[in-house]
Amino acid sequence: MATKASRSAARLMMAPAVVLLLGWMLVPLIMTLWFSFRTYLPLRGGDQGWTGFDNYIRFVSSSAFWPAIQTTLLIVLGVLVITVCLGILLAILLDQPMWGQGVVRILVIAPFFVMPTVSALVWKNMFMDPVNGLLAHLWRFFGAEPVSWLSDASLQSIIMIVSWQWLPFATLILLTAIQSLDSEQLEAAEMDGAPVLKRFFYIILPHLSRAITIVILIQTIFLLAIFAEIFVTTGGAFGTRTLSYLIFQRVLESQNVGLGSAGGVYAIILANIVAIFLMRIVGKNLDT
């Protein structure tokens, strides 16, 4: 149906977006790759030439590397488990008939719209402060010793804050998926006397599997990159330094651009491994 003229017009219309994104991707990527093979200390002598794979080796062999990987994985996995499990339960609950469904939905989704610096600071001060925080009051009320959340249970605290931010996302997507489930199928199973757990495992969960996969993949990509939550709460102290944060510190705080860039290349590779799976699912969806 498309004529030759309209096809070339179409190409022209696509050009700005493609060129911009290509530049946005390639220019910094090539620069990062370039820096990663050089000794580059902007404040201490500048660019001091090629160094081969030195930065790559040093980044991995530094004492901060493996703890950072471990922290990253714990945060990503912790948040995923919490948000996906609670998200499924919450989505099922919100799908039930009730009064004021619309309002409850709004209440549940709200945290997603709170900017990361606000949610991190509100949690850090008004809830997790060991003296005046609300949790400290609660602990004292029950006669327990208040906890210094962000120093003694730092990782758990960050996971908790980030889970609060992402639970709405998981819930909303899973709820959308549940609502597309044929209710007749569920009712038939109910009539046949299938118990609740069986209905959950044999009908609801399989129906949700694709949505769950998508939630996991998208969240993983965002969670690998969380920054503000750590920046304003612990600043990477108390074992909360993730891979992203480590790279940020190498590049901007200690101004070792070569080393940080090598770390950046590792982060890019890591994100791409996740991205490939996500793209495959999204791509499949395009065909239908």
Partner: protein, 276 residues
């Protein structure tokens, strides 16, 4: 879905859902409440829920001391500017991909998506350096450009999924009647695409408003938006819970309201059309 259930069951559902909903919303509610307390009341033990003297004092203090207006203006300009710029670039691209697809269209769409997955920290220094070289560091223009670029894939994708839902038959009929490309876009597509474009704008505005990696790393004073304004409260100074709450409330209120209108679009936009 209105399934028939017993009133008792419905009552239990309602109670449970409201309890959980309020629990999840509570930190936001608490922040809003605290913003109306005095500093002393904000840390009172036991905590005061509603029985305190409501005051607007904190809002006055925050606005006076921190030049809130400028941060707000920066947020609006960065989020709004990047949204408009993004649309100008994305509408033609999404239009051509939806209506004149070629064998490559799918690959291009997926490739665009892949640029979104590039971890920001991996390209932090190059962008930082380019910003210094081009004199864009701590400038609104620079932030508008970066914000537009990081959200461009989402805008293109969302528009694409909306445009694809417009029936091609209408276009073909218009072409038969001799409509030119310009007329086709102006009189047929645009009116049909307005709802999709509006939702895309809304979601993009929210995402840009809340973005907190580039805004924290590429701004200092002049172009700092609300995300940076709030981050400046991370080093506490005496009693500051009430002021922090007032500042936070002012930073999130506009988006909370906009966000409530965009629930449905959110799913489509953030899953790249994979869940609708």
């Amino acid at each position: 879905m209105a399934r028939a259930v017993t009133p008792r069951r419905k009552l239990i559902n309602t109670g449970l859902a409201w309890a959980i909903g309020l629990l999840i919303f509570f930190p936001i509610l608490w922040t809003i409440l605290t913003s109306f307390k005095t500093e002393a009341q904000a840390i009172a033990s036991p905590p005061l829920f509603l029985g305190f003297d409501w005051t607007l004092e904190n809002y006055g203090v925050v606005m006076e001391r921190s030049d809130y207006g400028r941060f707000l203006m920066n947020s609006i300009i960065i989020a709004g500017g990047s949204t408009i710029l993004g649309l100008i670039v994305a509408v033609p691209a999404a239009w051509s991909m939806a209506f004149v697809p070629s064998r490559r269209t799918k690959d291009i769409l997926l490739w665009m998506l892949s640029t979104k997955m590039l971890p920001a920290v991996g390209v932090l220094y190059p962008i930082y350096l380019l910003f210094i070289e081009l004199g864009l560091l701590d400038s609104r223009a620079g932030l508008v450009i970066v914000m537009m670029l990081i959200n461009l894939p989402i805008i293109v994708w969302m528009l694409y999924t909306y445009f694809r839902e417009i029936p091609v038959e209408i276009l073909e009929a218009a072409r038969m009647d001799g409509a030119t490309l310009k007329e086709e876009v102006l009189y047929i597509l645009t009116p049909m695409a307005v709802p999709g474009i509006a939702s895309t704008m809304l979601l993009n505005f929210i995402l840009a408003w809340n973005e907190a990696f580039w805004t924290l790393n590429l701004t200092a004073v002049d172009a700092a938006p609300l995300t940076a304004f709030i981050a400046s409260y991370s080093s506490p100074e005496g009693l500051f819970f009430a002021k922090l709450s007032a500042a936070s409330t002012m930073a999130i209120a506009p988006i909370l309201i906009l966000g409530w209108f965009s629930q449905k679009q959110l799913v489509r936009g953030l899953t790249f059309g994979a869940v609708k």
